[in-house]
């Protein structure tokens, strides 16, 4: 029987690992190589790596847009790399589970470079919204199984709107397409998986947007990965209860606690969820 996947997400900004809130506040959290190896050892089912660098600057420790530092036991020397491809190469050497790389993927060459460096899948957002046929080209070239379409949605809370709007460019720009229409479209074009993320819930620790997960998993015929909002292990169970096919992802909760992936899995098993341990 297929097991429920638990997936830690690492956010990389200018070559260093950060945590995020509402897609805007970013805080330095530690060494990514060390994290990937720990996650891999702790039975994470996959690892997703999102490069949220806004420009092409991978110059480490420039720290312009990074605030605070929350980790002290870091071996800094591993971080001395100057582009994402080198980062993937080093990460894939220690990662014994599937590795998805997202962020700044604009064309087939970008995908090819990442796969060659050791990524197993790529997550695409803005480029797919700007040219949906890119999904078709990418899935024909590399196979659907490695094309994850990441969908960022936000509700306009000031207008008290109940509608999820789709955003591109790291949540900066609203796109005029309905959520269900977009899901059906990417499926037809050959997407292999959906990574659904609520910008409102990002970094809040109040749990997934369960209604959003329900809507997306009902429309989608391809696997769906839920992201954004997890603050405690029970939130994974709540996500699972919406739809047992959902893969459960989170970022911040895994960063600060030792053995957090293992403990989350133990909690899930206690709650009768079939996951790998």
């Amino acid at each position: 029987m297929l097991k429920t996947r638990l997936i830690p997400v690492l956010l990389l900004k200018n070559g260093i690992l950060v945590r995020s809130r509402s897609f805007s506040l970013h805080q330095f959290t530690g060494n990514h190589l060390y994290q990937v190896q720990r996650f891999s050892d702790w039975k994470a089912d996959e690892i997703i790596y999102l490069d949220i660098t806004r420009d092409n600057n991978y110059n480490l420790y420039s720290g312009k847009s990074v605030i605070g530092s929350t980790s002290s036991n870091i071996n800094m020397k591993h971080n001395n790399q100057d582009n994402i491809i080198d980062i993937i190469k080093s990460v894939s050497k220690v990662c014994r589970v599937p590795l998805t790389i997202g962020g700044k993927i604009k064309n087939l060459k970008d995908i090819s470079l990442r796969l060659k460096a050791g990524a197993d899948k790529v997550a695409i957002n803005t480029a797919a919204l700007e040219d949906p046929l890119f999904i078709k080209k990418a899935s024909e070239e590399f196979g659907s199984q490695c094309i994850v379409i990441s969908i960022d949605v936000k509700k306009d809370l000031q207008k008290k709107s109940d509608k999820w709007n789709i955003y591109k460019k790291f949540g900066k720009e609203k796109v005029n397409i309905g959520l269900s229409e977009w899901i059906k479209k990417i499926q037809d074009l050959g997407a292999g998986e959906i990574l659904i993320q609520s910008i409102n819930r990002d970094g809040q620790g109040k749990g997934y947007d369960l209604k959003l997960l329900e809507v997306v998993s009902n429309i989608s015929k391809i696997p769906v990965i839920a992201l954004a909002g997890v603050g405690e292990y029970q939130d994974f169970v709540d996500g699972y209860n919406v739809n047992k096919d959902l893969a459960l992802a989170a970022a911040n909760i895994f960063h600060f606690t030792e053995l957090s992936v293992l403990n989350a899995k133990k909690y899930m098993i206690k709650n009768k969820i079939n996951t790998r341990l």
Partner: protein, 205 residues
């Protein structure tokens, strides 16, 4: 022991290369007939479409080289995912496409027309292993990472030494003489996967 990962210009080779290094194998990546000939074990990796993959194998003349090494010289080969599916007679992915025809059967899409099964089949699934398996014998409770939309319908079930359940039983492992194939990704299946890779390189020619 020396392992050659066949490079036909498709698929994620870094992952399998890293895993082989990790278990201490003497491993190279190549499409050079001479290097393929001089290796004791071959790995045929692959993700992507069957049609494109076979075209690339044929363009580089690798189909003939592999036929010679595997069928005539009986060199052990491990096909992974699409690499295993190439062993079939035909595939229905992208029209009817001819495979290497080492293990008679067809590759077809996981049928979810009548069910709410999600395709691709992605994630960790339990393996049901036949005791005759040389890649993983007497391992019950074991799980591996799958990611695929098509599966290998093998005509003679005696060559199927492992299955997993996804809607129906899906071929997970095939073994026929010196020919070995896995639908899942051992290089991404943590300890179980590494064990399979170790078992493979320990198979004597």
């Amino acid at each position: 022991m020396s392992v050659c990962i066949i490079d036909y210009g498709l698929g994620n080779i870094a992952s399998i290369f890293n895993a082989m290094k990790y278990i201490g194998a003497d491993v190279i990546v190549s499409d050079d007939p001479f290097k393929i000939k001089n290796s004791s074990h071959l790995i045929l990796p692959g993700v992507g479409s069957f049609k494109k993959g076979m075209q690339k194998l044929n363009q580089r003349g690798l189909d003939e080289i592999l036929n010679f090494e595997v069928i005539n010289n009986k060199k052990p080969i491990l096909g992974i995912c699409l690499g295993m599916q190439f062993f079939a007679t035909t595939s229905s992915e992208g029209g009817i496409v001819k495979g290497l025809d080492w293990i008679s059967g067809n590759v077809s899409r996981i049928n979810n027309k009548l069910s709410n099964l999600r395709v691709p089949h992605i994630g960790w699934n339990d393996l049901k292993i036949n005791s005759t398996s040389r890649l993983l014998n007497n391992n019950i409770d074991t799980h591996c990472y799958f990611v695929h939309s098509y599966y290998f319908n093998v005509n003679n079930t005696k060559y199927i030494t492992g299955t997993c359940s996804y809607g129906n039983d899906i071929t997970a492992i095939v073994e026929k003489d010196n020919i070995y194939g896995v639908q899942f990704h051992p290089e991404k299946s943590h300890e179980t996967g590494l064990k399979i890779l170790k078992n493979f390189i320990n198979i004597k020619c």
